[in-house]
């Protein structure tokens, strides 16, 4: 039975081969972004139902953090910046107090910016935050 090769664990012989592998990985990363956005969208819907509290808030923060840390390395700088901006809002928020309409609107706006930037780098698969 032939050995199954992992698509990206290749023997890299030179810098050009590495660049090709990176390009493939970046393409895979971009292709995964709509699914990430769908997850964020679902979390936002849950948040609205739950009054911007509970586990969904922590999960959203974590998702944004991961995006902020990885997108730039795969050439999606704007996605990473928008995610970092949204994450910073959650980090700075005083979670001891209740969410106001303005707070919700500000988070919505930042997450919408993440969605917009994801759609910009993953064309043909538009998605939006409900």
């Amino acid at each position: 039975m032939p050995k199954k090769k992992h698509p990206y664990i290749v023997m890299v012989s030179d810098a050009e081969a590495f660049r090709q592998a990176l390009a493939a990985m970046a393409a895979e990363y971009r292709a995964s972004l709509p699914a990430t956005l769908a997850h964020i969208s679902a979390l936002m819907a849950t948040l609205r139902q739950d009054g911007y509290a509970g586990a969904a808030l922590a999960m959203l923060r974590r998702e944004l953090h991961t995006l902020a840390g990885s997108a730039g390395t795969f050439g999606c700088d704007e996605v990473g910046s928008a995610a970092a901006h949204a994450e910073a809002f959650l980090d700075d928020f005083d979670h001891a107090r209740s969410w106001t309409e303005l707070d919700c609107a500000q988070l919505d706006e930042r997450v919408a910016a993440v969605a917009q930037n994801i759609n910009n780098v993953a064309p043909g698969r538009p998605a939006s935050i409900p």
Binding site: I9, G72, A88, D91
Partner: protein, 275 residues
């Protein structure tokens, strides 16, 4: 003021990083002491010396004045003002000024400037040079454990470091981290994310650095946690480097070579397999 080595920094003194100081934090290669680095991370033209002392652990606090003198002498920081009573008098010389962060001086007054330590957007590439070079085992490679929960990023790092001659292992969660540290060969370096699904990178760092055997392993924090507070916490817990995400691979490679005491001109000294 530096003409007199008896110069004593005052509690109200505020300092700012010079461009040379910024470079020291971003060159991925420094020989400065832990105290110097901790101060360089905190100093931003807003935090006064009393507040700085409160952020440095007791063992280091006595050395703060000496460090400040050394950093001034070496041109890494410059006087930026002085707090007088409740009023702050700033002469901002740092690019990272209060205005750049959109923060009012009044907010800084309240706590000696410490609130600025929690602001996001603090990107650094710190790596302390090791005086002792790591040597690959006979017939083997230097080994790197990559603790990263973002699978693609972890694989990408693994592939890049393999190209550079390292043997790499990826751990994405608590269970895999424990397994990798129990597995032979013992790693020569750890790249450590902070936010993990079921673990905290700072806790792992603390446990590693207090471990009898693994304590001497160089650790580079590789994280999107980009605040002065986070960088300071990593350094205080004994991290040998702190590189914020997103990062450039060349920068990370330089940091890795630095903390492992390797020659930047050469790849990791290995017997390469399949490359």
């Amino acid at each position: 003021v530096l003409q007199h080595m008896s110069f004593q920094p005052g509690d109200g003194d505020v300092y700012a990083l010079t461009s040379k100081g910024e470079q020291e934090l971003n060159a991925g290669q420094t020989l400065r002491s832990h105290v110097d680095l901790e101060l360089l991370v905190c100093i931003d033209g807003k935090v006064n010396l009393a507040a700085l002392r409160s952020r440095i652990p007791g063992a280091h606090a006595a050395r703060v004045a000496d460090s400040i003198r050394g950093l001034l002498l070496d041109g890494l920081i410059s006087p930026a003002g002085k707090t007088q009573g409740d009023a702050l008098e700033f002469t901002f010389t740092s690019a990272r000024s209060a205005q750049a962060h959109g923060e009012s001086a009044a907010a800084a007054e309240a706590d000696g400037g410490l609130s600025s330590l929690q602001q996001q957007g603090y990107y650094v590439r710190i790596a302390r040079r090791s005086s002792k070079a790591r040597v690959a085992p006979e017939g083997g490679q230097l080994s790197v454990v990559i603790v990263e929960d973002e699978d693609r990023l972890g694989r990408f790092l693994g592939q890049f470091l393999a190209l550079e001659g390292f043997a790499t292992r990826l751990a994405r969660n608590r269970g895999e981290i424990i397994a990798e540290f129990r597995r032979a060969p013992r790693p020569d370096l750890v790249l450590l994310d902070v936010v993990l699904p079921d673990a905290d990178g700072f806790d792992i760092l603390s446990k590693l650095k207090s471990h009898a055997v693994l304590g001497e392993l160089p650790v580079i924090m590789l994280t999107a946690r980009a605040t002065r507070d986070s960088v300071l916490r990593g350094l205080m817990l004994g991290a040998d480097g702190y590189v914020t995400k997103p990062f450039q691979m060349e920068v990370l490679l330089k940091a890795i070579q630095t903390v492992m005491g390797l020659d930047a001109e050469k790849k990791a000294p290995i017997h390469r397999h399949g490359v």
